[in-house]
Every structure is written in C-alpha cells, then in structure tokens.
C-alpha cells in the first residue's frame, strides 16, 4: 500500500515573506497518477521535493502509506526519482545499466537478474538486455532510464518535469509511454509539469497550484468542466476560457449592450459585479439581436472547425486597449469576416459565473 498524504505541509524559505507551499492538503491514492501543475513559482516542484526529502517541511506532515516520512532522509523514503540519471554506460550491457544500483545495494545476483528481466519485459527491452547501449535510439535510452527506477521497486515514483529536456517528437512519444507504463505498473506516481497538456492527458487526477496554494484537485475533465475558481478556469483549457466581467443587473450580468441571463439565486451570491466564464466551444454565432456583441479581429479556419477572435463591441478607445480577447469555436465558413460585428450566444447550461471578490465559482 502506498498512498501519499500531505497534511498541512508548509515550506517557507528563509527570508521569504510568504510560504512557497502553504498548508498543502493532498491525498494521493494507491497506484494513482497525480500530476501537480501550475505556473512557474507556484510551489509544485517544492511540494514534490518535500515528498522526496529534498526540501525541509517547516510545519505539517507527509505520509507514505501509514509512515510519517516528514523528517526521514531521502534514501529511507522508498521513493524513486525517475530520469534522475540517464547517462548510459557504454561498456556495460543494457541489463547492467538497469541493475547496477541494485548491485551497489548488495541485492543478490539472482534477484537482481529477476528484477531486471521483469522490468525489461515491461519496457519491451528483453531483446536488448545483453547488448551494449551504443545503438539504442533516444526512446530506448529513456526506457533504460525508467528501468533503473523500476528495478528498485519503490513505493512511489517521482517525476519532476521529466520531458522538459526532450525535443518535441520524443516528448510526445515518451509522454504516451510513461502514461501506459504507469497504468501497467500501478505504482503511485507524482508528476510535476508546467504544461497543462501533459497534465490533462496523463494524470488520473490533476492538482492545480498557484502561489503555494492548492487551487483544486480533480480529474482532468472535472477541472475542465467545473473549475472551482477563476484561476483554474483561466489556466486549464487551450484556447483559454473566455472570462468577461460585467455589472450585476436585474436578471443577469450586463455584458456590452446585452444582459447575460443568470439565475436569481446565483446573482444573490455575487457582489456588484460578476465574471462570466464560457469556453470557446460553448459560444455560437447568434442570428438574432441577442448575444454578446463583439468586433471580429481574426478568423482562423482549421479544417472543419474555426476560431473567431474579437473584442467586446461598444467599448471606449481606452477600454478597448485592455479588453480581453474573446474566442469562439465555430464551424468553418461561418460567413463572418474581419472587422464585422457579430453576436455570440453562450450555451447557458455550460456557462460559469464567478464572484469577483472571492474568485469562486458560484453557478
């Protein structure tokens, strides 16, 4: 059993005025693939390093299974940092390249061989075991490096931006391979990335962090469909969710000359203003006088789909400079063109409303 639990785990760097990781509470299930994601400086790497024992935990605790590892040295935590070392030794066979760390730990030869064989089978490298690594492809080298972590049979795998130094092609294939391998191995994995595509495509669950604070932890689809707050709403999704601030009026939120209908009980939870959140694919070109008025600035056609970009109509010159760009996913040949005025109708069942002072979703 290897669950991982952060309990109010906090890291404050000496001299810093606010914690790098602030009271992190996170439970990672046995065998789960958990991705920590967020912009640079959000505390995701620090959290991973606290789990690895590389960063001091100033308050709170960290458990692996039932074991409190908060003050254990890294090597006693039964974790493996994957891809920490993937220089391959040219004179050693692939098998020795995978198993040398076990030899150092005095694991008997028979067991070493068995573990290496098992890992090689998982990694599709059985035919390579007696070869020297010189002829291996980039992807195969990566797998040998994964094998080094697998043969150690740790309770938890940790991966800190493992794909960040790969070229684009190898990145896509390695991403697929890591995800497939993790689900086959069933070893609890904590994976850190700044790339939301990686997070959304690989993770069982994704923890979004910002400024040291956990914003939301959920399955990728829940994060996408039900973001808890404005930050998550804006961070997850590409192109990003449209977030438009408006005045709260009778019956809804005023956006340009149109009132976006919002239920009374939702409006009751807002202040004087509220922010409407709509994904580009939940906006359609309106053929009536209802809808959010925009001035079209760019049309992008991508096969059957297309994107219409524009800014809210009827703004003053000054306001236009800082107005957010709105994006709608439309069918190609929508008939619109650059400079035209159109109205976008949101799918009201999939629209979100956020409270501007708490930043929380209230719809």
């Amino acid at each position: 059993m290897a669950t991982v639990t952060f309990k109010d785990a906090t890291r404050v760097y000496p001299g810093a005025d606010h914690p790098s990781v602030d009271k992190l509470n996170l439970e990672i299930g046995d065998g789960e693939f958990m991705v920590l994601v967020g912009p640079s400086g959000c505390g995701k790497s620090t959290s991973l390093r606290m789990l690895a024992g590389l960063e001091e935990v100033n308050s709170g605790q960290i458990f692996i299974g039932d074991r409190d590892v908060t003050s254990l040295p890294p090597k006693d935590r039964d974790i493996a940092m994957v891809f920490q070392n993937y220089a391959l030794y040219p004179h050693m066979t692939v098998a020795d390249n995978m198993g040398f760390a076990l030899k150092m730990q005095n694991v008997p030869k028979a067991e070493r061989d068995a573990r290496v064989a098992e890992a090689a089978k998982l990694l599709g490298l059985e035919e390579f075991l007696n070869r020297k690594p010189k002829a291996l492809s980039g992807g195969q080298r990566q797998r040998v490096a994964m094998g080094r972590a697998i043969v150690r049979q740790p309770q938890v795998f940790l991966m800190d931006e493992p794909l960040s130094n790969l070229d684009a092609k190898l990145r896509v294939s390695t991403r697929t391979q890591i995800a497939a391998l993790q689900s086959r191995l069933g070893v609890t994995t904590v994976y850190v990335t700044h790339d939301q595509i990686e997070a959304m495509t690989m993770g069982d669950r994704v923890a979004v962090m910002r400024d040291g604070i956990l914003q939301q932890v959920d399955s990728p689809l829940t994060l996408y469909d039900k973001p808890d707050n404005l930050f998550v709403a804006g961070f997850i999704g590409s192109p990003a969710m449209n977030l438009i601030k408006g005045r709260v009026v009778e019956g809804g939120v005023q956006i340009g000359d149109w009132v976006v209908p919002v239920a009374r009980e939702v409006l009751a939870k807002a202040g004087d203003t509220a922010t409407i959140g709509i994904r580009p694919e939940h906006l359609t070109l309106s053929d009536t006088e209802a809808g959010i008025p925009i001035d079209v600035s760019v049309i992008e056609e991508l096969g059957a789909d297309g994107y219409v970009y524009g800014t809210l109509s009827g703004l003053s010159e000054d306001a236009r400079l800082t107005a957010p760009q709105l994006t709608a996913r439309t069918h190609a040949r929508s008939g619109t063109h650059r400079g035209s005025k159109v109205r976008l109708m949101p799918d009201l069942t999939r629209m979100h409303v956020f409270n501007d002072s708490t930043q929380k979703r209230i719809s």
Binding site: K75, A101, K132, G139, N165, T201
Partner: protein, 464 residues
C-alpha cells in the same frame, strides 16, 4: 541566421557551419579530446587559437546552464567558463536545430577516462575522489545543488601532488540561498550511485585495475564529505579557559585551504564556555595569498608548495625582517621565472608552469638525496627536462588515445558515449517502437484535445 548570446563575443564563431547538426560537423573543425559520457551531442571544436566544447541541447537547458556557469564563475567556484549560446539555428531545409552551448576548454585538464586509460593506482583514485569531494563541498557552501554529480561531469587538473576538480556540466544544477541537509544528502547519494556506475563501466571496459573494487571506492565518498563539511561548518564548544582553540580551528581551516570570512563566537553569560562556528568560509587560502604576493594564478596545492618554497627562500636569504611582498618579487625573479624560462617551447604543453615548478622541486629533492648534497635549481631543471618532462604526454590539450590496453577502437573518436567498435549486429526487435510506428497507434496528442479526452474517459468507463 543564428543568434549569439555571449558576454565576450568571438567573431571567429560566426563562419562556423551552424546550419549543420553538431554530430555531422566536418572532422577538420573538431578536436578529439578525451571526455566523459554525455547524453547529448558534445564535440570539441577548434576556433582560431582556442578550443571550445560545444553541446547541442534545447534552448531552455542551454540558457539555464549558461547562466548557472556564469554565476559559478562569478562566485569563483571551479567550473568551466561559459562562452556563448547559439540559438536560432536552421538546417538547409529551414528546419530548426537545437541551440549550442559553448564553453572554453579547460587547459591542462584531464577527464577521468584519460587518467584511467593509462592505468591508475589506488592512491590516485583516492586523490581523484578527494578532489571531487572538495568540489562538491565548495558547491554546497555557495548553495549550489548539482543534481548530477559524476566523474563524467568533472574535469581534473594536476595540483602539485594531488588533483583539483572542475565542474563541466551544470545542466541539472540549481542555486538556493542555503542547501538543506536533505538536498546535500541527495547530491551525495547521486554522487555515490553515479560513481559506482562509472567505476563498474570502467571495470566492464577493462580500464579499472583489477585490484580496485567499485564499492570500496565509493564508500570513501560519504566519510570524506562528512569530515570536510563538519570541519568547515560544525559548531565547537569548549571552556572559557581554552581560548587557543579558536586560533586552532582557524589554522585547521587554513591548512585545508579555506579562509574564515566570518566566525560566530558565542560566550556563556558567566564566560564559562565558548561556542564557535564558521559562518562563511572561502576556498583558496593559499592560492589567494600567492596571487596577492606574486600575481601567479595557480591551484590550491600548487600555491601551498610555491609558498613553502618562498618561505624557504626568505629564510635562506635571511630576509625575515623584509616586507614579504618584496621578498616574493625577488623569489619570482630568481627562482620561479628562471625555471619556467628554461623549459624549451616545444615542451610547454606538457604541464602548466606552476606544476612544472612543483615537479622540479620534487626532482631536486630526490636528486639532492641521491647526490647527498644540495643540487642547484638550475641543474635540477635541466635534469628534470631530460629525465622526466620529455617523456610525458602533452596535457595542455591531451589527445584522446582512442584505444584501450587491448586496442579496441571507439566507434567515433569524437564521441566516446558511443562505445567501442565490435562486430556489426542487427538491431533486435523492439515491440514499443514497432507499435509506435504501427498505423493504428494513438499517441497522446500534443494539443489539449478535450473531445479525445472525453472519448477516452467514456471508453474507460465502458470497460470498467
């Protein structure tokens, strides 16, 4: 058009074939210097009179490493000097190529592979490990977490009878205000694992003396690191009557080659006990003193040796009352420079001047023992040149032998990571690569395709 990021631009770099992947550069631009194993394409290139190491890596890594190496340089930590990052490279088909990080080749440096190629004694291996530990401690003192400590990522330079280690690969490094114990232990664990792997590799390549055991070798690392770190940073408590222990601690640190820039001294209210702890220590106690007195920039142990000779000179010429700087100037003119000048130009590539002076002093001592009289320095230099220096290999730019005791050849003399030539083998079957190119294989997309995500989720639910 490639872009050059550099603090000291070198116009000789411009005409190089930046539109060609580094692995395909013509051999006439390359120098086959020995080096460690790398996961990237690394080549030594000749640019005008200089030799640079070139590494092809993605942009973030190249810029990150360039800046870290600059910071290390500013902090006077032994590391190779970064020269430039070349970005914006396009090949003939206008496809982007990875940037290249350029560092200056460290003169008179020896990668571990070339040291081991000629066979090494246990004592030499211990000296190499000591040099690596000193480097690691110095990096940790300035808050640098290396992340990939290994022999491949270090260059060694002769330092009197010992070695000095330089960091050559900072790709995984990070600066922190102060390293935690966990971070330092992590670096140590990595060092031990990597060095064990490298020694096993040397063993498998029949480059390690059969009497040396990789495990015993790496076992030394922890204890040596702990001893040095403790001496440099640990608090020490003693009774108020033992004030001489403050002086003793400072002397011990000096003898290890460190200056104490800040020593915290806390006394108990009644003065009964005193606690001292070095807060800031700077490496280079002897080399700084030698530089100040003579302008010679040397390694630490070389400086210690030269300073000892300077002290002897001062005593022999009975000038204890004369200002040290004046005597140092005389010593430079009358002892050091004549020795260096006596070396024929064709032999100057074999050792750097301070190392030659050290070796001449050694030679003179043995010669004097043998002759049972003091051999003059001039005679000793000539003897040293004839008996020792002529027979040594060039080390200013040591050429890779490319062969081992049993005369196997490297697949590529410019890239030892590719191993040795042996019978051509057919690539075995790789089910993963076969699957990756199979027509119906679905790779995770490189865009956020939410519809695909929903589809996969629905499939997963259906199969559960």
């Amino acid at each position: 058009m490639p872009r050059f990021l550099s603090a000291q631009p070198d116009s000789n770099l411009l005409p190089l074939p930046w539109d060609v992947p580094l692995a395909d550069w013509p051999p006439d631009l390359l120098v086959a210097l020995p080096r460690g194993i790398s996961r990237h394409v690394v080549r030594f290139i000749r640019v005008g009179q200089s030799v640079y190491a070139a590494k092809e890596v993605i942009e973030e890594v190249a810029l990150h490493e360039y800046r870290l190496l600059q910071d290390l340089h500013r902090l006077d930590t032994p590391a190779v000097e970064p020269l430039a990052v070349v970005t914006g490279r396009l090949d003939a088909a206008r496809q982007p190529l990875d940037p290249v990080l350029l560092t200056r080749h460290l003169e008179f440096s020896l990668p571990y592979r070339s040291l081991f190629a000629s066979g090494v004694r246990q004592e030499t291996v211990s000296q190499l490990l000591d040099a690596l530990v000193v480097l690691l401690v110095r990096l940790h003192l300035v808050g640098f977490l290396w992340g990939d400590v290994s022999l491949s990522n270090v260059l060694f330079r002769r330092d009197a009878g010992e070695f000095a280690a330089y960091l050559v690969d900072a790709e995984t490094g990070e600066f922190h205000p102060r390293l935690s114990d966990g971070q330092r232990n992590h670096d140590l664990d990595i060092a031990i694992t990597n060095l064990f792997g490298e020694f096993c590799d040397l063993e498998a390549g029949r480059l390690l003396d059969a009497a040396l055991d990789p495990r015993q070798l790496v076992d030394q690392i922890n204890s040596r690191y702990a001893a040095l770190w403790g001496e440099l940073t640990a608090a020490e408590e003693f009774s108020g009557g033992d004030l001489h222990r403050i002086e003793g601690r400072v002397r011990r640190l000096n003898s290890l080659g460190f200056d104490v820039a800040e020593l915290e001294v806390t006394t108990a209210v009644d003065g009964s006990s005193i606690r001292i702890q070095p807060k800031v220590v700077d490496a280079g106690h002897h080399s700084r003193r030698l530089l100040r007195l003579t302008g010679l920039d040397t390694e630490e142990n070389q400086a210690r040796r030269l300073l000892n000779d300077l002290d002897t000179f001062r005593a022999r010429t009975d000038q204890q009352h004369v200002d040290e700087a004046i005597v140092a100037h005389q010593w430079l003119r009358e002892c050091f420079e004549p020795v260096v000048r006596a070396i024929p130009p064709e032999l100057t590539g074999k050792r750097d001047p301070a190392q030659i002076f050290h070796e001449v002093l050694d030679y003179r001592w043995f010669a004097s023992q043998r002759a049972d009289r003091e051999v003059p320095l001039g005679d000793a230099v000539q003897g040293y040149i004839q008996d020792v220096l002529r027979g040594l290999p060039d080390e200013a730019m040591s050429e890779d032998l490319g062969e081992t005791p049993d005369e196997r050849r490297l697949v590529n003399p410019f890239d030892p990571s590719q191993g040795f030539v042996d019978e051509a083998e057919e690539a075995p079957f790789d089910p993963w690569e076969a699957e990756a190119v199979a027509p119906d294989t679905e790779l995770l997309p490189d865009v956020l395709d939410i519809d695909a995500l929903r589809r996969r989720e629905a499939e997963r639910r259906a199969s559960d």
